[in-house]
């Protein structure tokens, strides 16, 4: 199918104003939120913006006929290249499917289209006394469909869990163009948990066209504590002590001195400029509980060396303390023209050692690294500051980033806590997974998308899929015939 015909056919499905095909219009779809140069890209043939599930299914059918890959995309805020096309093809942008279809107060659920923006869902459900718990830092722009694809987290997943814990059911267009529902309002559905498999599958198994999400009741009371420490070690120690005391805060965030240097002059959140690190701790729940737990946490922090503890109960005060954390990335421009935001996880007890290693790497590679992260769940976000106009700077950043990942894996961590693998980290998959582990993942991929048409070249190491999947198939065939080779 030549490109003109393809575009005509796409226009016939979604309308003339919902297909982009001029190079200038396509350019932006070659990018997501990842750092330039860290992620490969290839210009898509066209971008289609459907408004209904049937249109999505029709586009998928068309792509199938044309033999073109399909890449689903939300707001493009991803940080691992998940929505960036690798082999061209058709991009299905879901941003026009942005309706909240139903809010069910009694069942505590919402039925939404994938293009609904994360924060807007919480704002819409607030009058009913609910919010959507996953709150990635990009929540003002990112979409629910993207959250599902990436299994997004956010500061509050310490208490409330990640996206998968809040998805009850999905309407999905499969790679063969069929539309199915997985999961649903009722518990106890039969068969494999396809909903669970789809969440976090980075658009490689199906395209979500509706999501039935769980809503969380807004807490009776919320309190935010700010505790500055002389150094990262004592702040980490305080974190462990809080957890050991049997307290699970709603959020427990840490920022180091370099971050404070960038953030405080920008937002005047009140972080002491001379602090080695600050902890930002949020607790929520029943009013009395929140008060007594707050006192307990404050005492632990002081004992662990906090120079003071500020407690904010009023909404405006709390928001100011949070502002510095939520807007931290935006403030980094004060320190350097570019940053590379890393995302790895280590067991909480390995945080102090990992941060020390990050400091060494910063020194070795002559890269300033700011640390702003989810201390409560061991999810690190080292921010490497650089100027990409300096020859070799991007390469140095990627090298340093490899050092950090390698260390995190060595101490029992994971490649990514909330950003996903995409193309950014596919090369590292073999650091944590054996060929057999990857073959199991390929088995899942193959069950949904045997022809590899949805979001190709993601998650699996370069050149992996075809050969390995074939080997797996041959193994399966051999077994069926009773020829077993171990």
């Amino acid at each position: 199918m030549n490109r003109e015909i393809l575009i005509e056919k796409l226009q016939a499905i979604v309308g003339r104003d919902a297909v982009f095909s001029r190079p200038a219009d396509l350019l932006v779809y070659e990018y997501d939120g990842s750092v330039d140069g860290a992620v490969d890209t290839a210009m898509p043939s066209a971008v289609a913006l459907p408004t209904t599930t049937q249109q999505v299914a029709d586009i998928v059918q068309l792509a199938r006929l044309a033999g073109l890959p399909v890449v689903a995309r939300g707001a493009g805020t991803g940080l691992s290249g998940g929505a960036v096309p690798q082999n061209g093809g058709i991009i299905i942008s879901l941003t026009r499917m942005n309706r909240v279809l139903e809010i069910d107060e009694d069942d505590r659920t919402a039925l939404v289209e994938p293009g609904v923006i994360n924060l807007e869902l919480s704002e819409e459900t607030l009058p009913y006394g609910y919010f959507f718990a996953p709150d990635p830092s990009s929540q003002k722009a990112c979409t629910i469909g993207g959250n599902v694809a990436e299994n997004s987290g956010g500061p509050h997943c310490l208490k409330y869990g990640v996206t998968t814990n809040h998805i009850l059911g999905l309407e999905v267009v499969l790679p063969d163009g069929r539309i199915i529902w997985t999961g649903g309002r009722a518990t106890g559905g039969s068969g494999y948990d396809l909903t669970g498999a789809l969440v976090g599958s980075e658009g490689m198994l199906g395209i979500v066209t509706k999501a039935l999400v769980r809503l969380t009741p807004t807490p009776e009371a919320t309190l935010v504590l700010l505790a500055p420490f002389g150094d990262i070690e004592s702040a980490s120690h305080a974190t462990s002590r809080i957890i050991a005391a049997g307290i699970v805060p709603a959020a427990l965030e840490m920022m180091d001195n370099l971050t404070i240097q960038a953030v405080e002059p920008a937002y005047h959140a009140g972080y002491p400029m001379d602090a080695g690190a600050v902890l930002l701790i949020e607790i929520d729940g029943i009013t009395d509980d929140v008060r007594s737990t707050g006192e307990e946490i404050a005492a632990i922090c002081v004992e662990a060396g906090a120079t003071e503890v500020r407690i904010a109960t009023e909404k405006a005060e709390r928001e100011l303390l949070w502002k510095g954390r939520k807007m931290a990335l935006g403030a980094m421009g004060r320190l350097a023209p570019n940053y590379y935001l890393h995302d790895t996880v280590v067991p909480r007890s390995k945080l102090p050692a990992t941060l020390k290693r990050v400091e060494e790497i910063s020194h070795d590679f002559k890269l300033p690294i700011a640390n702003v992260f989810h201390a409560g769940d061991g999810n690190l976000h080292p921010l490497m500051l650089f100027d990409r106009r300096t020859p070799g700077a991007t390469e140095r950043v990627l090298e340093a980033s490899k050092e950090i990942i390698t260390y995190c894996v060595e101490v029992g961590g994971a490649l990514s806590g909330e950003h996903g693998i995409g193309t950014e980290k596919r090369g590292y998959m073999t650091l944590v997974y054996t060929a057999d582990d990857l073959a199991a993942m390929a088995g899942l991929k193959n069950s949904f998308d045997p022809r590899g048409m949805f979001n190709p070249e993601k998650i699996f190491p370069k050149g992996y899929m075809c050969g390995e999947v074939r080997a797996l198939r041959m193994q399966a065939m051999a077994q069926k015939l009773g020829i077993h080779a171990l």
Binding site: D107, G153, C157, T164, N165, V172, I180, T182, R185, A186, T187, G188, G189, S190, G191, Y192, D193, G196, A197, I243, A244, G246, I247, V248, G285, I286, D288, D289, V345, P347, S349, D377, G378, N379, G412, G413, A414, G417, H419, I421, K425, M429, V432, T434, D436, D437, L438, A439, A440, M441, G443, L444, K445, N446, S447, F448, I459, A476, Q479, K480
Partner: protein, 412 residues
């Protein structure tokens, strides 16, 4: 080499009347994979066995040639209390795991049927949950890593020992509830939580079903911070059980608030008595007369729970079936009921009852039934959407249908 071990549980076990001539007890995951591969190449059917508390769950097996017991895969592999994570062998008893966690003031917030004798692997394979689901969710929300032995002879792992992890597909949730049909779970990692500092239970008795559901609904809508909320019918008597957990002062405050709302006929249990009451309640998830009774689990959207519960009782009465026991969870839409067929019980009457249930509920699973009645019946209820994807999954992971052939949804 695979060793033929003897295990006190498996020696006496049957699966719907089938007993295996051979029981093997692998000492580690790789040995388990070898046993599976050998069985696969010989065309033998394998049923994995843990604590033997949920062997009734599943369609009639096509064959059982070999049982593989996870008894040799027990023990805590790694537990770091300050990290709130735990790695444990699939054969570990749930009760033993909770005891170890309790020493550090922590727990898995779960109260599954099967109780302390269920194994970790069995709980994952059958995705069981209990009344605590109301506040704490299920195993699905706690599982962070897994290792699985496959009929291809390989052992794979996924996830890890961290609570947030998006490194590749979320395989642990695929294996959860798969009844071993994608592989035998050999170990699992969980996020654990602090134990609540106090708990209490309020039990209320009501004249009618409507009154019981109205009371439960009032508490749910008022968003009382309850750990569990169950409406129970025993031999026609209706009661509501509310579990409260948390810090001492909160538990006391909520207890007083709910007591004030409760009808005059209520009792209140404090910490130990409360815990014991719920442990007993969960263990009653078994048919009273297994020869003529069937245990079913139905699901519906939460707000239709009362309609479903009353609908089941009415529909069964019409069909000449009594419902001596029913437990409904109004917050989650689950209803567990014992259907007593008496002398009229047969494969046909059970099948008719199942179709009635499927008209009332979105999901209806026959959890336990007399084996002869199960012939030809898919106890899992209606075929799920996307079943062909499930067929390919089975084909990808266990092409020779070595593990539990026929027992899973759609006779996979």
């Amino acid at each position: 080499m695979p060793s033929n071990g003897h295990h006190p549980v498996t020696d006496t076990l049957t699966i719907d009347g089938y007993s295996a001539s051979d029981v093997q007890t692998p000492g580690d995951a790789f040995e388990c994979a070898l046993m599976l591969a050998e069985a696969s190449s010989l065309g033998r059917a394998v049923t994995p066995v843990g604590g033997g508390t949920a062997l009734d769950l599943g369609n009639l097996p096509e064959r059982v040639d070999l049982m593989i017991s996870t008894a040799g895969l027990s023990g805590i592999i790694d537990y770091e209390p300050t990290d709130l994570v735990l790695s444990v062998g699939a054969g570990a008893r749930f009760g033993d795991v909770q005891a170890v966690l309790a020493e550090h003031g922590q727990r898995l917030p779960l109260d599954p049927p099967g109780g302390p004798d269920a194994t970790i692997g069995g709980l994952i394979a059958t995705a069981r949950s209990g009344p605590l689901r109301y506040s704490a969710g299920t195993l699905r929300d706690l599982l962070i890593g897994i290792s699985v032995a496959h009929p291809s002879g390989t052992v794979t792992k996924a996830g890890g020992m961290v609570v947030k992890n998006v490194s590749g597909y979320d395989m642990p949730r695929l294996y959860l509830g798969s009844l071993g049909t994608l592989g035998i779970i050999t170990s699992a990692n969980f996020k654990v939580l602090p134990r609540p500092r106090a708990e209490a239970t309020i039990l209320t008795r009501h004249e009618t079903a409507d009154a019981a559901f109205a009371f439960a609904s009032r508490l749910h809508v008022a968003r009382e911070p309850m750990a569990a909320l169950e409406v129970v019918q025993r031999e026609g008597d209706w009661s509501v059980a509310v579990r409260i957990e948390g810090r001492d002062q909160t538990v006391e405050m909520v207890r007083q608030r709910i007591s004030a709302e409760a009808p005059s006929d209520f009792s209140s249990l404090d910490s130990e008595a409360s815990a014991t009451w719920w442990a007993d309640f969960v263990s009653l998830y078994r048919p009273q007369d297994p020869k003529t009774s069937v245990l079913v689990r139905c699901g519906v959207r939460p707000k239709d729970t009362a309609t479903l519960a009353l609908g089941i009782i009415a529909a069964m009465a019409n069909a000449g079936v009594t419902v001596p026991y029913l437990a409904a969870s109004p917050g989650t839409g689950g209803v567990l009921a014992e259907l007593s067929f008496g002398a009229n019980g047969s494969a046909q009457t059970m099948a008719e009852a199942q179709s009635l249930l499927l008209e009332l509920a979105d999901a209806a699973t026959i959890v336990a039934a007399p084996p002869p009645w199960k012939r030809g019946i898919d106890i899992w209820g209606r075929l799920p959407d996307g079943f062909d994807v499930m067929e390919s999954l089975r084909q990808q992971f266990d092409p020779s249908r070595t593990i539990n052939p026929g027992r899973f949804a759609g006779f996979l």
